[in-house]
Symmetry: C2
Subunit: 229 residues, 2 copies
């Protein structure tokens, strides 16, 4: 089993999901041991500042350094426990010290397997604005559907700062479901891609009458596969 | 702020407590940043095998290596998120790559501050049998009170495997409280030391009519102090 390195802290609540998820998925495959996991939890405020300033070069450098640190500590494969930072995935991966499992590739592969044709995508403002999932979905023949610019702003404010800290506020959840439901209905989408690792803390199976694409869980599955390959 | 390294996975449930606890305590001091935290989560089954075999040399070596890995990844101060492994604290600390914050020293210092005189101690079989807290408490003039040998065995079986995995079974909790209550009453103890980082998942304030010494929370406080010193 390969030793996995996780870049965490983006935010801390989903890092805990990754940690628990990787352990339970690994032990479901091989119960005789606990996987060795190294987590480098970075400063989320620093990450957000680079993203706000659209200083993608500095963001990539910060994350590339974290991958090096994970490699120094003995990790053999790595992943970023966050969708937003995948905006700079290519810049990191091309000079990466370790193979870097992409959440975007994993989620899009899964959607292709599911036969999805029209995917409603929600996530942080950066994720939606950057077209992070747009290109990857289009390449697989899946139509990406994004909220309007004003709804993107509203979704962002429903994620930061509370949900990012793992806090689900009832009226925020209600509004998030309203926006998502309208997006799905008006565009005849056949799934909702939860394109932010904190969204599964708010939106649960049964909340909406559609297929939920839980990128966190799909990513964990891909990470564990790579650990055992 | 110093970058902290945590040896985790002993077990995973309390590692999550340390991670969340260090972040919230750090942000209570300085809210403008998230602390950088590196976690090396080791194989708990390997640790348990060394402890069962009383192969303390191999256990110390395994943990010393983890401290080196944390140092390689950039940690400046370290701690083991577990009481039991502190049995080999001295062996690790004397050749440690990093200053290692001891849960035993932190807990005993706190009890001294509280004016504790007679401390009932529960924890894993290894912790109770090894006298881990016995000597440290005695040096501070606090009388350590341990369960009988048969009760030690029973407490151990109430910790492994369920509580160690973060699962609290109602009848296990009931029996644990019964043993603890009798230990406190018969020995006139003025506190109960929860000498295993998973015990606070089971025993909560109000469950017993005594002061609870939550070693996990005290350790987190000492770790965060060292990060800011």
């Amino acid at each position: 089993m390969k030793r996995v390195g996780i870049i965490g802290g983006l935010g801390p609540a989903s890092t805990v999901d990754y940690y628990n998820g990787i352990i339970s998925a690994s032990r479901a495959i091989e119960s005789s041991a606990y996987p060795e996991i190294i987590i480098y939890s970075v400063d989320m405020i620093e990450m957000m500042a680079y993203a706000e300033a659209e200083d993608w070069g500095s963001l990539a450098e910060m994350l590339r350094n974290a991958v090096w640190k994970l490699a120094d500590a003995g990790a053999e494969v790595a992943a970023m426990a966050c969708n937003t930072t995948h905006i700079v995935y290519n810049q990191i991966a091309e000079k990466s010290a370790l193979p870097l499992i992409s959440i975007v590739s994993a989620a899009c592969d899964e959607m292709q397997k599911l036969g999805v044709q029209r995917a409603a995508v929600i996530g942080t403002a950066f994720t939606m604005r950057s077209g992070l999932y747009t290109d990857a979905l289009s390449r697989r023949g899946i139509k990406p559907i994004l909220p309007s610019e004003s709804e993107q702003g509203e979704i962002a404010s429903l994620i930061y700062p509370n949900l990012e800290d793992g806090i689900v506020i009832a009226k925020d959840k209600e509004r998030m479901l309203e926006i998502a439901e309208k997006l799905i209905r008006e565009n005849d989408a056949d799934c909702l891609l939860l394109g932010c690792t904190e969204l599964p803390l708010m939106i649960k199976g049964g909340d909406l009458d559609t297929v939920l694409i839980n990128t966190t869980q799909i990513h964990i599955g891909a990470i564990v596969s790579s650990m055992f390959s």
